[in-house]
């Protein structure tokens, strides 16, 4: 489903030339559960941005569901992000002025769905995350765990083929963090492809495979022997 070949990403900041990714080859099949780990500066965020179609590689090819997205224009990438990818961020990144339900509706709005349909789908997603009773609250009025659940509801509402989670437990206490990881596990068991970027080994253990990055290259790949699988 994801096929990255010799992905290179260079940054030019004035005279300083930085190679963030030095040639990544990675295949991810549908329903896979991947953890991308590595110290900061290893290139894991850059890799996530490219896999999430927020950024384009300097060279190499990236096939997502059989389509080369590495050379697509901004509008086409926006469409891919909208239909194929659900993001879960460490900072939740909910819009502070909108209710949780309105937040969940944002991707549906950009997909061009009508109000009634958006309302139904967002309510379903909130119910699935167990926070339908918080639908009309603003993010500041609910707990961190509930915010992250709302963010996951938003990531799932368009039924994406890939969920990309960037340190999803980083801003949560350990108990709430485990709940969120449980949710990701259950999503994966329902067939959603999940890729988690983390430096937390406990988070990594949940995945089927751990990709260890170092200096922009894949250092090692371990198959996690986790009790969940």
């Amino acid at each position: 489903m994801l096929k990255l070949e010799r992905i290179v990403k260079d940054y030019d900041a004035g005279d300083i030339h930085v190679r963030a990714l030095g040639g990544i080859d990675l295949h991810v099949t549908r329903g896979d559960y991947l953890a991308i780990m590595g110290p900061s500066g290893s290139g894991k965020s850059t890799l996530m941005h490219i896999m999430g179609c927020l950024d384009r590689p300097t060279s190499g090819s990236y096939l997502l569901n059989g389509r080369d997205v590495s050379r697509m224009n901004d509008a086409a990438l926006a469409r891919i992000r909208n239909r194929e990818i659900g993001f879960v961020f460490q900072q939740f990144n909910l819009l502070p002025r909108e209710t949780l339900q309105a937040n969940v509706e944002v991707p549906l709005m950009y997909a061009g769905l009508g109000a009634r349909q958006r309302h139904r789908m967002s309510a379903d997603a909130l119910r699935r995350m167990g926070i339908l009773d918080r639908a009309h609250h603003r993010p500041s009025e609910v707990s961190g765990g509930q915010r992250q659940r709302a963010a996951i509801a938003r990531a799932l509402v368009n039924s994406p083929s890939l969920v990309l989670a960037d340190e999803p437990t980083g801003n949560l206490d350990s108990r709430t963090g485990r709940e969120i990881l449980d949710i990701l596990d259950s999503l994966n068991s329902e067939g959603v492809t999940v890729i988690v970027v983390t430096h937390d080994s406990e988070v990594g253990r949940r995945a089927r495979r751990i990709i260890n990055l170092k200096d922009g290259l894949i250092d090692s790949v371990e198959a996690a022997a986790d009790e969940h699988h």
């Binding site: 469409r79 992000r81 709005m109």
Partner: protein, 401 residues
Amino acid sequence: MNIIETVSLALRSLRSNNLRTFLSVLGVMVGVGAVISVISVGMSAQAEIARNISDLGTNIVSVLPNFRDSASQSRLLQMMNVGLGREMLEAVPALSSVSAVAQVEATLAVGGDTARATLMGVEPSYSKIIPTDTAFGRWLVIADLSVHSQVIVLSSSIASELFRGIDPVGKQVWVTAGERRRPFVVVGVTEAEEDEPASGAGRQAFIPVTTMVYRLLPARNVSMYLGQTRSASDTDAAVAQLRRFLSLKSVDPDAFEVSSQQALLDAMKKVTIIVTSMLTVIAGISLVVSGLGIMNTLLTAVAERTREIGVRKSLGARNDDIRAQFLVESVVLSSLGGMAGMALGYAGSMAVSKALNWPPAFNWLSVVTAMGFSTLIGLAFGVYPATRASSMDPVTALRCE
């Protein structure tokens, strides 16, 4: 996203910083209000000028001497007798009537009471040219002129001041003009005019022009001629014919100044249009300045909401969606200001026309123009901030704290 959703999103975003929104709306409001007031007051002034001039009649032609030196002055004054008016009427077919007019400031006395008045020596036709109706008694007649009779028609305010309710017709008035003092018999009183002062100068009394030049004034000449054309469309022809006649008669094309009320009206209108346009441009500058205020507000909003822009892009917003979001915000801001400014402009123009007693001329065209302009300004000054927002790199925007 449909337009209603986009506008409601814009309103929610704008509400998140009420003071900033209020200030930029205020800027547009003042700009739009100024434009509407200026245009409306300008129209009002034009209407007022037109009203004043058309009170005098648009089919009136006036002939005034054009003194350039003492030689031409004495020559012209010799020409300017009552007979010259009759010659004009014969020579110029477009004219339906002509009156020679002589004018002097005089004191009118009855017993111990006196009143200042502008004494007008006129011909009977004068009342047709400058509509003058008599409320009591009669107006001047041809016979008054031929025998230079000492009869006078008073304005209603002079009559009431000198006679205090007694019917003045048939009573005697002593008229003093310069060195001469003569008794006159009141034959009529004109109808009250709205804009006639109740006392003091500016009030008129009418006597035969021949009596004026032969019995009251030291010189024999009149001061001007007023003519009336058969219709307003004849005015230009009458002016041209009069000029030709007078230049032949005086062997000097510039001896007389011939002008029509229509020409005066046109000239005054032109002047007000120029003044109004100038003021509109100045008011328009404030509208443009208010656009800068909007741009500033939006640039701040874009900077503050960089992360939101990143989040929206990660959720599938295209650059066009982001651009539209901020452009709509800008247009909503400027049209809110436009609507408030419309109310301000309406109030302003009404207040001005009321204070000056001018006809109200709240102009719907100015409303459409100002609203259109404010929307345009929202668009024009929103483009840069909106484009800046839309062209943000999603990764950088998401990283923004």
